[in-house]
Each structure stands twice: as structure tokens, then as C-alpha cells.
Amino acid sequence: MDFFSHQDAARRASRRLIVVMVLAVIAVVVSVNVIFHLALAAGHEYEPEMVGRVGLDWRLIGGVTLGTVLVICGGALVSWFGLRGGGRSVAESLGGREIHHATADEHGRRALNIVEEMSIASGVPRPPVFVLEDDGINAFAAGFRPADAAIGVTRGLLKLPRDEVQGVIAHEYSHILNGDMRLNMRLIAVIAGLLTVAGVGRLVLDGALRSGRGSKKGSPLPLIAIGAALWAVGMIGWFFGRWIQAAFSRSREFLADASAVQFTRNPDGIANALSRIAGGGSGVASNRARDVAHLFFADAMFSRMSSMFATHPPLPERIARIKGLPTPEPVTGAAGSTVGAPAGAMGLAGGGVRASRVVELAGAMSPDRLRLGAALLDRLPPVLVQASREPVTARAISLLPLLHRETAALDRQIAIVHGKDPWLAAELRRLLPIWTSIEADRARWPLIQLASPALAALSERQRASHLRLCDALAATDGVITLREFCALRALRRVLGEIRPTVPRCRLKDRADDAAIVLGAIALCAGDENVARQAFAAGWARLPLAGGAPARPDATACAPGALGPALDRLCGLDAAGMRALVDACAHAVAADGTVQPREAELLRLIAGQLGVPIPAFMDS
């Protein structure tokens, strides 16, 4: 399964689960109705004059159903709002403290380095790392999409040897890449709703028992009965919910373990970490931990539940599966294979990559890539890497791609920055020579990805101010290039802009939008002839019947049209997305090979479609 199929599988599972959850809710509502009717029937025995009124009371049914649904939805909504803020919010609600290079201890810095290497190797923005003060060994990844993901680790995990820490973090990264997280968040919200009914029953029961103790008459039996029954029904709903959650979670966890081994080619790393957990326990003390249990690496619950309900598969089983996995061997050539592509095939002599190979690199990870990721991180100018780690300087990093090369325009831009913040302008002047000295593409994109969490850490006011500055810079010469447009959109997402979810669609329904995207790329290629060739080359890769349409002209591909087109294309299914990315690669490559300069553009566009393409690296 490659990156695209993973996303599809996650979405299908998501749909299946919503259906099952709805059934569970219906079951709960029906049960609550039954309880109230029984209670009322029983209650009538106490009021002799009401005897004889049996049968369905529709007002009662209506009222109870409404009440129950309200309660469940209310509980789900409360949970949903808590999770809405993204990975960072979840980590904060669990009490996690973000760690930074400048102030972290040796173990913390090591974890940060591991996360940075993975970010470069996978092309996904670097997630912030939060530490939970707990001696158990555990980790989680939270967030709806890579742009707002966060990774949490316990203090106990940080103390493990480097390869074990790397194995666990690779596991969490694979959750991010496989698209598990959106599904997980939804699960948490729905289960919270089902749990509320049990909670209500508990409240009523407690209240009835307590009031019964106090009053002279003795506890009101019907109330106790209602409370106990509600609690029982609630627990049924709870079990139902947890069972589904666990069953779903289990298969994803095995998948994540397998992916992590693929990333690191080191089964021992994860296996050892799991062995330690089996020995030492992994409970995390936090009220929220129960809710987010299956975001955690191992079972974070203190109580040992029976294996059917444990949210993660039993440890011995996981360890056995990991040890039984075949270590991935490099596979050459065949299209669609993504396991461990050899380093040599990734970079030709000129540093370019064959256009047809690009799709295989998307979201793919292998031990070679991981090593190369670490090597690339080492080669990046330390000044720039350092700057990407802190919000105040990360702003400068985020502005660098928007700066013009030509001196007059550049001076105008720096003047604009100076008007807002002289210190930032000075910082730009300091960093710019280093930035331009980097080989065109190899290091720029990784640096932007590394700066992503620092930018997200800006306060809301600062973010808004920074966005205005970016817009001003992009508009200096009155023309907005495709590169600038995509860079701005990516920046907006990092700085917190929420994109609405898009309906799923097929490529043949979005042929027009695909044409706009390919047209925009073709326009960058050069003059009329070259543009026509580029467009044709890209369109040929799409599995659409009928000949290529006319190449859209400049107005058709303007930002006003391109933006919505990209948004709609985010809903493509696996086959369609793969084909589109392939087509873009061919449109960008002038001669069938994607050169580093062209690769940056490709990466920006693919990023807008939600497809991570990592930096190309030669050995």
C-alpha cells in the first residue's frame, strides 16, 4: 500500500465507523425509551388510579428520544470543541510542555533532532514536540492533518536509547502519514457522547441513593431504578463504542508498527521499546488520558482491561508481529513500488529525478531516506536551522521565499518590512546571503518545513500581522507568481487558517480543475510552444477519455480560479490523486527529468493537494 491507498483506506474505515456508531446510538436511544416506559409502568402500580394506562406513550417517546439524543450530541460536541484546536490543543489539554532546542536537556534535544530528521525525510512539516511528565513509556500523535500535528512523549520514553526513541517516533509519524488522525479525533468525540449517557445514569443513581439516605421516607425506588438502568444502558453504549474503537485501533496500530519498521529498518528499536513497556508499565496519569487512550502508543490505562477492550493490541502480540516482519529490501524500478527505493535511483547525475519516479516518493519512507534526511539536516547552514526553531526568527525564514532576486524590487520589499519591524528587516538582511548561497532547491523546502511549528506558536495577533506582511511582500511588483501564490497558501495554513472539508470526488468529475492546475504549471514553463508541450505532457498522464482540452490561458489559471480548484481537488480519491501528482510532475519537468529548481514548484503544488513530496537527495 502506498501513501495514496493509505489515505483512502483511512477514509473508508472512517465511513464504516460512523455507520456503526450511529447504530450504537440508536440502540442506546431505544433502550433508554424502554427503560422509561418500564419505569412508568412500574410507577403506575403505586398510583392505583392510573392503573390501566399501558401502551406506548408517544409524547414520552418523543421527549425521551429528544433528551437522549441531546445528551449524546452534547457530550460529543463538548469533546469535539476540545479537540478542534488541533494537535497542539490536545497536547496542551493533557498537560504537555513543549520543548525547545535552546532550553531542552540532552534527551529532549535528541528527540527534537529525530523529529527534524523525519520531517526532512518525509516532506511533512515538522511537528512540535510536547513532553508529559510521567515515568511511564508512551507517545502519541495528535492533530487533524500534518500541518497541525503534534507529537507527545513521556519523560520515561526520552530516556531510552536513541534507536528505540526513533522507532517509537517513527510509529507516530506513520499515523500522521497514514491519515489516521482525523479518524481518531472523530472516534473520540462520538465515544465521549456515548459515555455521557452512562455518566448521566451514574449521576441519577448517586443522587437518588444520597437523597434516599437523607430523607425519612426512604429512597424513591423508581428513581433508583431509572438511574441504575440508565447507567446500565449507558455502559452498553460505552462497551459498544469502545469495542469498535479498539477493533479499529488495533489494525491501525499493527499497520503503524509495520510502517515504522519500514521507516527505520530496525525492528529491534520498537520491539525493545515495547518490551520495556511490558516490563515497566505505561500508564499516564491524566483525566483526559482516558479519552485519548488510543492516540497513545501503548495502553495508557491504569486498569488492565480484558484483551477485547484494550485500545492497543496486547504487547506480546505486537512484539511478535514486529519481529516476524521481513526487513524491507530495496526494490528497483516497478511503478507503484515504494519500499526502500535505492538512493542511487533517486538522483541522476544532474541532481534531477525522473518525472515518473516522483509519485513513488510521495509519502514514502525508507531507511535510506531517513539516513539521508539526517545527513541533509547536518549539511544545512546552522544559522538557518537555528533561526527556524524560534518564532521570532522563523518569521524571517518564512519570508525568504517571497523575496525577489532583482535588487530594486528586493529593496522595496525590505523597506516594507522595515516599516513594520526594523529588527525583522535587519534579520532578513543577515539571513539572505546565506539563503541564496544554498543550492536552489535542496535545502529551501526542508527549512520551511522545519520552521512550521515555530510559526504556529506565534500568538493570534502576531500571526495576523505576519500574514498581512506576507501579503504586502507578495504584492510588491503587482504580479503574483505561481510560486508566491502557493507559498502564501501554505503559510496561511501553517498560521492557522482552517480549510473546510471537501467532498470526495473522482478525477473525471474534476477534469476542469485539473486542467487549470496543469495550465498554471505550464504557464511557468516559458513561451507559447514550451507551455503547450508541458500541458500536453501532463495531460497525457491523466486516465481521462477524450483528447486534451485547449490549454487554459492566463486568466483561466489566475489565483482566483486556481485557489478554489486546488481546494476541490483535495477531495480526490487515491487513484485520481496519484494520477494528478504524476501529471503535475510531467508538466513541470521540461525534459522528463525534474530538476531541483522545478522540484520546488512541484512540491509547493503537491503540498496544496495534501501530498508530501520530500526533498530529493542524492547519496
Binding site: 463538548v78 476540545g82 525547545h100 521570532v392
Partner: protein, 199 residues
Amino acid sequence: MGPTTIVLIVIGVVVLLLLMWAVGVYNNLVTLRNRFKNAFAQIDVQLKRRFDLIPNLVETAKAYMAHERGTLEAVIQARNQAVSAQGKAAADPGDAGAIRGLMAADAALTGGLGKLFALMENYPQLKADANMRQLSEELTSTENKVAFARQAYNDVVMVYNTARELFPAVVIANVAGFGAAQLYEIEVAAEREAPKVKF
């Protein structure tokens, strides 16, 4: 089906919805509180950088300003006190007292540095020293970074304080023990100026 039963059910549901709203508010306050604690970490990073520059600065100055021992010692003292205040604040950014302590120690350090730089005007050789120029440059840059981190922290603190002061959330906040967070401000107007280093 008596009216009392209907009323009871309705009341029950309303109470429930209220409870759920309360839980939501509580969770939100927890998240916002952790957010400002994390925002403090950025101030921590920049202050550490600032405090780390001081010993080197003082050593370089000592070579030229041997007679000004008093001022130099005062700066080192202030710096050490600021470092210890920083440790307390970093351990629990939710402790308003610790934050105020750090603010005071930082202000004292700024005052000491101001005196030191004023004195440096009398030592042109020191001013020309390459090492001193670089250190002063870094110090000014760090001051700006501290200011920026402070701004971010205060923004987040404002959000938290507003959330906990709004009615009716304030009821839950007080019951659950969410105290007001301390804004990080430079208190003394005279010391608001970062030490101006002009060469």
C-alpha cells in the same frame, strides 16, 4: 403520564446540558492555561540567551575597566539573581508571584547594564574592542527577541484572563481554582529603554 414527570424530565435534561457546558468551559480553561505556560517557554529561551551573554561581557569589560569593580560586580550579582528567578518562573509559569519576581530581577539587571554602558562612554578603547562590539550587538538583538516573546506571551495571557473573567465562566473558574495569569511587563518607565549601544 403526569405533568410532573414531564417537568422533571425537562429539568433533568436542562441540568445535564448545563453540566456539559460546564465541562466544556473547564476543558477550555485548562487548555488556555497550558497555552500561556508554553508561551512563557519562548521568553525563557530568549532570557537564557540574554543571561548567558552577560558573564562574557563583564569579563571583556574588566580588562579595560579594572577600576569600575563595583559596577561590574553589581551586574554579575543582578544577573545571578535573575537566573535563579528565571528557574522559579520556568518551573511553574502559572505562579504569578514567580513571574513578578522574574520581572523585577530582569528590570534590576537592565538597570545595572544601563549604568555599565553609560560608564563605557569613558573608555573609548573598550568601545572599539571587537569582542565587545559583537557582544553588544548580540545583546541588543536578544533584547528585541525578548520583547517579541513577551508580546506573544502577553497576548496568550490576555486570552486566558478574558476567558476566565467572562460571566458565567468566571463561576467555574473560581470554583475550579483558575487564578489570573500575570502579564509580563516592564514596570519602570525609565528602564523601558533597552540599553542603547551606539558606536
